[in-house]
């Protein structure tokens, strides 16, 4: 996965941090101090399509075959999250109880072209 830098226009992971103090949520969210709301952005030319990590797989072979035989494919490729993880939160609920939970798939760790 590539992190976005400078003038790169290709598919990459853009880091974005939401500070709970800045948005006035620090009174009810005890931990963590913010949310790493990373996202994927950038271009995905057809020749780079294929999820990273599947370089030698059967799926890649099939994808390449489709690309080779179907240059005028009906679908374009998109830059999407390929690896995500949970966000652990410790917070007060409406009844002043303290709740801890892991919300799955909230933090984008890697991006790739579909």
């Amino acid at each position: 996965s590539i992190d976005c830098r400078g003038d790169s226009r290709m598919c990459c992971r853009k880091e974005f941090f939401v500070d709970f103090k800045e948005i006035g949520w620090e009174d009810w969210i005890i931990q963590p101090e913010g949310y790493h709301m990373n996202y994927c952005t950038g271009l995905c030319p057809l020749h780079v399509a294929g999820i990273p990590g599947l370089a030698a797989s059967f799926h890649t072979a099939v994808l390449n075959l489709i690309k080779a035989n179907n240059a005028d494919a009906t679908m374009d490729s998109c830059c999407v999250p390929t690896q995500r993880r949970a966000l652990s939160l410790l917070y007060y609920d409406r009844d002043n109880n303290i709740v801890k939970t892991d919300i799955p798939d909230m933090i984008v760790d890697a991006c790739g072209c579909t």
Binding site: F16, V18, I23, W25, D27, W28, I30, Q31, P32, E33, G34, Y35, M37, Y39, C40, T41, L43, C44, A73, T74, M75, D76, C78, C79, V80, A86, L87, S88, L89, L90, Y91, Y92, D93, R94, D95, N96, N97, I98, V99, K100, T101, D102, I103, P104, D105, M106
Partner: protein, 232 residues
């Protein structure tokens, strides 16, 4: 994306930086609230004292051999993750007691559980934590009753009764999993604990050790998932 159209995420790049940021922050708020099944952010009227919270977290962690808690407030990224299986969302909840009616030999504690969790979660474990003051020589016998509202919600019925011999000062725990599960399955939110103690002995709420020994219930729960039928 259909041929010739932009990917949905590409639209963000075309926005002005401030608008871009505002949209992302709004999305983050909406995302967190919806995943926590909250319509709006909770308004905190009585934040828990730091000492009370830390003591409760430590007691709860001590029950789990794989978990640790630091001596100060936990820092970002140090909250030990739960162990969700197959992407199922799990919860740990601490409900602190609200004091109810009491006499010289009896005290009632009320625990209120969140509406968002009742009915849609399965209780894995629920433990009542009580701190006792020094009972003096010989110890004391305590009767603990778990009371639940009856189906009509008018009267309280005894869900279970147990006896405890207290020989020294300290924390004791009591499994209240069945009572909390039954409460949640009825859509009810309030569990009442009635303690009968020897007259004149200081009850848990009057232990005189400050807020850090406040009684609480620790609940571990997971979201219910619909049953899936697979066709091959």
């Amino acid at each position: 994306a259909p041929k010739g159209r932009r990917c949905p995420a590409c639209g963000l790049a075309a926005l002005a930086p401030t608008t871009h940021r505002d949209i992302l922050v709004a999305l983050a708020k909406q995302n967190i609230l919806s995943k926590l099944r909250l319509q709006d952010r909770p308004n905190i009227t009585q934040p828990m004292a730091k000492g009370t919270l830390l003591t409760a977290l430590r007691r709860m962690r001590a029950q789990r051999p794989d978990a640790t808690i630091s001596s100060g407030m936990p820092h970002a990224g140090t909250i030990p993750p739960l162990h969700p299986g197959m992407g199922v969302q799990e919860y740990e909840m601490l409900s602190f007691a609200e004091s109810g009616s009491s006499t010289s030999h009896s005290v009632r504690l009320h625990f209120r559980f969140t509406q968002e969790l009742s009915g849609s979660t399965e209780i894995l474990q629920a433990t009542l934590y009580l701190f006792w003051a020094d009972p003096g020589p010989g110890g004391h016998l305590v009767t603990i009753r778990l009371l639940q509202p009856d189906p009509m919600g008018l009267n309280m019925t005894v869900a279970s009764e147990t006896w405890l011999e207290v020989h020294r000062a300290g924390w004791t725990t009591l499994d209240v999993g069945h009572a909390v599960q039954s409460l949640f399955s009825q859509g009810s939110q309030r569990l009442t604990v009635e303690l009968d103690v020897v007259e004149g002995w200081r009850s848990p709420l009057l232990a005189g050790h400050g807020d850090s020994h406040w009684p609480f219930v620790a609940v571990q729960a997971r979201a219910r998932t619909p049953h899936h039928v697979q066709r091959r």
